[in-house]
Each structure stands twice: as C-alpha cells, then as structure tokens.
C-alpha cells in the first residue's frame, strides 16, 4: 500500500471514529457545543444559547447547569463558606462524558486543521508541478 493510500485509509478511519463518537455523544445528550461555536447566542448576546446540535434531554447537563452547579449562587456571588476543600471532585459518569465532549471537539479541530494543511500542501505541489513540468518529470 502506497503512502498516499495509507493516509487516505487513516483519514477515513479517523472521520468514521469521530463521526460515530460524536453521534453517540450527541445521543447521550452530553455533547456540549463550546460557547465559541454557539454563534446564535454570541450574536444575540443571550447566555442561554442552546446547543447547535438540537435540544438536550430533560435533566441534561448543559453548559448553564454545569456552571450553575459549580459556581453556586452564580451572578458573581461566591458560594457561602468558600475556601478550603469545597466542591470535592470525582469522576462521575457525567463528568467523564463532559470531558469526552471536550476531547471530541479538540480532536475534530485537530483533524480539520490537518486536512486543510494536507490539502494546501497538495495544491501547492500541483501548482509547482504545473509551473515547472520539467522539474516534476526529472523528480
């Protein structure tokens, strides 16, 4: 198998894995769209935003819930009795799934950038070949 074919197979596998995991995360309701991607909320200035992937199931662990849970009173007020070892951590199912959602977004961004970079390199090479056909033939 040539290097190009290997790259293509790898690309298909990566896209399939990301697609399936994204679909699964979305189905579980834990796929949280980072606020920067939440264009409607940014444009309207509303904090509620909502998910670009559709409505979350009831009792879901959305961005607002997540912040509210951790921030306590919200609106700039600190929870009472602050300090010390408050808010003990733990890897519950929803924490792990929220983490998986972050990793998923990171992986999608990396894949998109790698695809764009490879594409740009291919286009560059093609243009170089078109400009200097003699050099391309010798190499």
């Amino acid at each position: 198998m040539s290097k190009n074919q290997k790259s293509l197979v790898m690309l298909v596998i990566v896209i399939a894995v990301l697609g399936l995991s994204g679909y699964w995360l979305d189905r579980t309701g834990y796929l949280e769209v980072p606020r920067v991607f939440d264009v409607p909320a940014v444009l309207t200035g509303s904090d509620a935003g909502g998910s670009a992937m559709g409505e979350r199931p009831a009792g879901d662990f959305g961005g607002q819930d997540r912040n509210a849970e951790f921030e306590g009173a919200g609106q700039g007020e600190r929870p009472q009795g602050g300090g010390g070892h408050e808010g003990g951590g733990g890897l519950s199912e929803r924490v792990l799934l929220s983490m998986a959602s972050d990793v998923w977004f990171l992986a999608v961004t990396i894949t998109a950038v790698v695809i764009v970079m490879r594409g740009a390199a291919l286009v560059k090479a093609q243009l170089r070949r078109a400009r200097h056909p003699a050099m391309a033939a010798s190499s």
């Binding site: 849970e69 700039g76 007020e77 951590g89 961004t109």
Partner: protein
C-alpha cells in the same frame, strides 16, 4: 544499577506538551478534581505554559526578529496563532487567580464584586476560545507530534533489530 532517565530537549518538550494537554482537559471540568485542586492545577498549568514557551524561546526570538522581514508565511501564521493562544491561556490563568476561592487575591488587589463578575465571565469564556485555538495549534504541529512519538516509542525498538541481524550479513560477504 538503576537506569537513569535521559531527557533531551525534544523529549522534555513532548512530555511537557502531553502533560499540558491532559491538564487542560482535566481543568476544563472542575468537578473532576474539586475546586481546591482545580485552582492548584491551574497554577501548575500556568507555570508549565511558561516552561513550554522557554523551551521554544529560540524560535520565538528568531521569528520575532524576522516577522516583518524574510520569513515563511507558515511561521508568521504560527506566531500569530501562538500569540492568541498565549493571550487566551493567560486570561484563563489570571482570571482564575482573581476569582480564586482559596487564594485571597481579589481581596489583596481590591477587586470589587462587579469587576469580579466580569472576571468570572472571562473565566467561563476564555477556556472555550483556548480549546479552539489549542486544537488549531496542535493541528499545525501534528507532524512534529507524530514524528516525535514515533521516534521515542517505535524507533528505539527498531534499532535493536538490525544489530541481531548483523552476524548473518557479515557471513554473506
């Protein structure tokens, strides 16, 4: 005799980068560690980011000098992107320090509750921007990451194989 762990610059960079990525993902979910450890993880993360920049200081200096002169377009894009990432990460760490519940930084600096609300909002926004820019940063350095991991995980094993095959080769000639 105990084997000494030999770390060169590239290996150190790779280990530090992996730790930074893991720490960032963990810090994005404060419930995983709890408030107290989330804050200390953030402080450690800030220090590690400074070390990460210092390890690439030569590159930073050389591109800064040649930014408006003779340098590749990719280096310029990388430089600008790294600057945005530094700003985002800096905002995450500084805003986290100001709204800290364990360190009395806000009280020491005399930050009003209204200003503190702005810092809290910034602390919610900046990690999201940082996550996006971090993805682009990792994507742009993906070749280096894959090549370095390959070099330090698969290549050392490969180096052993030809040595075993050496006597066979010598008998043939």
């Amino acid at each position: 005799m105990a084997r000494r762990l030999r770390l060169n610059n590239t290996k150190t960079k790779l280990l530090l980068d992996i730790s930074l990525a893991v720490a960032f993902i963990v810090a994005l979910e404060p419930q995983s560690t709890g408030q107290y450890w989330h804050e200390w993880l953030g402080i450690g993360f800030g220090v590690a980011v400074i070390v990460h920049i210092l390890l690439s200081w030569k590159w930073v200096v050389s591109v800064t000098r040649r930014f408006f002169g003779k340098t590749s377009g990719q280096a310029r894009i990388n430089y600008l992107l790294n600057l945005v990432l530094l700003l985002a990460m800096g905002t995450v760490v500084v805003s986290g320090l100001i709204i800290s519940r364990n360190l009395p930084i806000a009280e020491t600096l005399g930050v009003s509750s209204q200003t503190q609300h702005t810092w809290e909002e910034l602390h919610r926004w900046s990690p999201q921007v940082a996550l996006l820019v971090l993805g682009v940063h990792l994507g742009l350095h993906w070749k280096w990451i894959v090549a370095t991991i390959k070099r330090y995980t698969w290549k050392p094993r490969r180096r052993i194989a030809p040595q075993k095959a050496l006597p066979e080769l010598s008998t043939r000639s």
